[in-house]
Symmetry: C2
Subunit: 297 residues, 2 copies
């Protein structure tokens, strides 16, 4: 198959006819990852992993970001332990915006013990969140960087998770409602940065984005499925720690601050491989989300 | 249906019990568009519209951006007039990256008259592209703004189209190949800004993005469909001017520089409606792409 690919093919001509010494091929993001030391990767705590299995056979795995929304994350853990999401649905797919799941009829009783955060968990103190900073400007914040598996913005001592592709937030009604965690959404398009600091962001989809993002768009208002039959059923939603050990997925993240991570950022911002003529010389926070890998044992 | 929506519901409580005068509801992007004068909209020249009809019944409409890639756009017009794309396929869907269409086997002879641009059309002089500027920083360029229906970046007297969601570019092999226009792609995820100034961007999808973005992701390398049977056939690709007048789609764009456009930008950057507590105070170029509407006669 001929591949006039938009990207990143590794078609280095061997230059066999030349006796000149050849420069080694430039590093690529993929080659930096392949060369990363085992210690540059950190295993994500299974207590922070949510596993959502869909009735269509798909699996979505989400990493929770406790420090940014501890009350909402606690609610999500409680809902998972109560098996509350089981049998509910993906009810909304709005193109270039979000996929949302929960209880479209709002009729399923919530388990006891859920709480609403006060104040709202839309942002937090930047103290205690040591960022691996990106040295490039952001349109919205004084400072951007990475923490754990997550993209973070900072301004005036305040830190918040950024609405990048694949980030997960807590659906809510209008202000001052903050939601419970019984409705969740994942970003499937242009980062909707106007939502930053207006919604509690609780995590990031690590596995299954291609399934969520390829769902048919809803034809109703705001992308809700107009016909209940179009909704995608959730078979189960569990914390990884509540799955039998042999069934727990294992994910690793390239640690921000590790040598390999810094090399990856440098190479992504300054592409020198054959495809590229003009390295960008910069990287935005959503294109700098720490690489994650699924470890199959 | 209960809608704990992530966005923009217009649920203003009537506050019937209060005798206090109520402030008028804050303007929203939608209310600004609804109030725009007819003269704030410009009809897109049908000679700049490409209509791609898929065998599955879907229609994709693309606006061409001649001044940024005149040779490639000329090639695309020639390919359309030769009916060259008819019977070819969407061959690649890579999650969070691009949908690509063309001739995966590279066997279909090209029509005569195609040319390769020299120099490459990856950027151009900023002269002659009067930007409606956005007064916010960008991670990659000195200056960002809008021109026609398109997002544009500028640095050092150079201007280029930005790889936002829905933008269309010319697939190519590695440097110094520039492609012909026989392979095209549309962005379906995070803006891949590292491609800016490394590929000829030729236009923007105005209609049909929900179809393209919801296609199943390819399981082959780089998201190519591993099985030819998975490809989506292109029934026809035409310039709108080559369709019978009654079948030509009509699209209008909110003119950058118009009063309504400036109000829309101001309101998008500073949301005051009930859902929002913390207006962002900024807007990135990909979230500022000029609104477009399909006019059904």
């Amino acid at each position: 198959m001929k591949r006039l690919a938009v990207a990143l093919t590794a078609l280095f001509a061997a230059a066999a006819a030349s006796a000149e010494p050849q420069a080694p091929p430039a590093r690529t993001p993929a080659s930096v990852l392949a060369a990363a030391a085992p210690g540059d990767w950190a295993t994500i705590d299974p207590n922070d992993l949510v596993v959502m299995d869909l009735a269509n056979g798909g699996r979505v795995v989400i990493a929770l970001a406790d420090p940014f929304a501890p009350v909402h994350v606690g609610n999500i853990r409680a809902l998972a332990r109560a098996h509350w999401y089981d049998g509910l649905v993906i009810e909304r797919v709005q193109d270039n915006y979000v996929v949302q799941w929960g209880d479209p009829d709002g009729k399923k009783p919530l388990p006891p013990g859920l709480t609403r955060p006060a104040p709202a968990e839309y942002s937090r103190s930047a103290e205690g969140i040591p960022l691996e900073p990106l040295p490039y400007p952001d349109s919205y914040a004084d400072r951007i960087g990475l923490w754990g598996a997550f993209p973070v913005a900072e301004s005036g001592g305040e830190a918040w998770l950024v609405h990048c592709y694949g980030m997960v937030g807590v659906g809510r009604d209008v202000n001052p409602d903050t939601g419970t965690g019984a409705e969740l959404y994942a970003v499937i398009g242009q980062p909707p940065r106007a939502l930053d600091r207006n919604i509690a962001v609780v995590g990031r989809v690590l596995g299954g984005m291609p399934l969520l993002a390829a769902l048919p768009r809803g034809q109703g208002e705001l992308g809700f499925y107009a016909r209940p039959a179009d909704r995608i059923a959730i078979r189960s939603l569990r914390l990884a720690t509540d799955l039998p050990p042999a069934e727990r997925p294992r994910y690793e993240v390239l640690k921000p601050g590790s040598d390999a991570f810094r090399a990856w950022i440098e190479v992504k911002a300054n592409r020198q491989d054959t495809f590229f003529l003009r390295p960008a010389g910069a990287l935005d926070v959503c294109n700098a989300m720490p690489p994650v890998r699924h470890v199959v044992r």
